[in-house]
Point group: C2
Chain length 342, copies 2
Amino acid sequence: MTERITIALDVMGGDHGMSVVLPAAVRVLSKRNDLDLLLVGDQERIRQELAGLGQTDNERLSIQHASQFVEMDEPASHALRHKKDSSMRVAINLVKEGAAQGCVSAGNTGALMSTARFVLKTLPGIDRPAICTALPNRSSHTWVLDLGANIDSSSEHLLQFAVMGSELATAVDGNNQPRVGLLNIGEEEIKGNETVKQAAVLLGDSPLNYIGFVEGDDIFSGAVEVVVCDGFVGNIALKSVEGVAGLISHFIKREFTRNLLTKMAALVALPVLKAFRKQIDPRRYNGASLLGLRGTVVKSHGGTDELGFANAIEVAAQAVKQQVPERISSRLQGILAERQTS
Amino acid sequence: MTERITIALDVMGGDHGMSVVLPAAVRVLSKRNDLDLLLVGDQERIRQELAGLGQTDNERLSIQHASQFVEMDEPASHALRHKKDSSMRVAINLVKEGAAQGCVSAGNTGALMSTARFVLKTLPGIDRPAICTALPNRSSHTWVLDLGANIDSSSEHLLQFAVMGSELATAVDGNNQPRVGLLNIGEEEIKGNETVKQAAVLLGDSPLNYIGFVEGDDIFSGAVEVVVCDGFVGNIALKSVEGVAGLISHFIKREFTRNLLTKMAALVALPVLKAFRKQIDPRRYNGASLLGLRGTVVKSHGGTDELGFANAIEVAAQAVKQQVPERISSRLQGILAERQTS
């Protein structure tokens, strides 16, 4: 018999709240039998919405009331102090208490990170949690971290990120020796700042499958399975990539709708364009893991739709099933012990 | 009568050397009447190649012999010390001596930057040169700097980059008040490192049209005309963007060549796809300016073709014609004087 997984969902978070989260929940349940979901938010409104979806009697959906919610632009410190009964906080509390093994929120990243860190605490040996997501490459995907939880990361932090990313890649993809690259610039004169150079030494001495420096384009080349960087750099790279992908879509659309002839060409090309779009559909990559915590927390993009949020739930379920926090902890303990004895 | 411009070309630089540079030179001359070109490299080989192109008697093409050339992977310090008669160095010397007003090289960036800085020196008030290029946005283009000449830039350096980028935008695009954004991350808890925060104060106090922090996707949104960042961050963002653009092209191509039906769709869609590709053709954006030097130096992508290198020559000619170094110097002096009196 499969072990059951329970995931708590912050139903009030994100740009669209429960109108996206609840249909996504129903969608995932219909695909996975090992999953139960705890819907955290305004009990009355959730009940109404579930009735509308014909899900009043679904035993795998439970409601946990929360009287508050965190605004998308609310400072994290304010949420931490004044929103102790927010849907986000209650969902994280459920993980802490063991009522759920993981939670998903599309709420604001700063508040989610601060609250998760405050409630769940970091794993032993981890100084700071990191945000990690998969991005598509030619053959599969590349895990990239940190994407914005930390700035001014030390070389030791970069090593911790590398451990976390490797364990996630191993757990999710079944790759026992994922290749790890350290994000750097290739200019001859400079070859990276001091922190990156020191991190290269730490990574080289570690049992990780560290293959050396990589450049920005290697995120998409498939040269490595894990790319490690400081959160300032990673966040800017991620947003830049989202920006250019949006620009390219805009140009494709504009050219295909320019006149009657191009519109006819679009009709012919439609199945091909659809297949192409699926490859880089951001919804398929939605769900960033907050790694390094004593529990599974997944951040969904705030503006995503049902399909995207459903994917974030899958990411959380997968992390729980594969015991990602436990793996990270055990791997890091091994590395630290090794270092002390050598 | 238009004033004549002379640009020196490092004929030996780049992955393809003179087989790309010489046809590009001929192409630009046929389009611009105000331009003369100095071809720097192995005299004998240039003569042969020009003969092959039917350009033996073109009076607007002169040859300047150089007995050495800088390898693409040669350390900058080695080139600086041991390649005093390299095509790259001689081209820069010609600018220093006034025989040319600008030069273009597709040679290695580190060596080009070091040699240009050593020979030409920086403008008064500029601590470090920066690399700047235009990237496409929805309506036009965005100037981004620094793209890899500097790491660990101080807030004062970021201010200097902002002055340089603004003056380039004004000179090339005729926009007298280009909007300047400072690249940062948007996470609530963090909002940038100390350097970026300090730079925001300096920029806010300056007469530049500073509009605040921007995120990576704003490089492509058209929200600002100039994006300022440290070279480590800028280089990684640029390479990441190149990487994802390459991945997207790869997926489009793969989907359109999947089977007979999709290949037929590709035939129908071909004119549209061509028009689209033109919008993001990297050759149209080839030619990065090394700003902050006492002279115009433009770096071409090492692997570009004739069309791309021709564009880099145009970028140099434009910078010379618009007196970009003089403008930067004068604007910066104004800002520094203003600061001293206030």
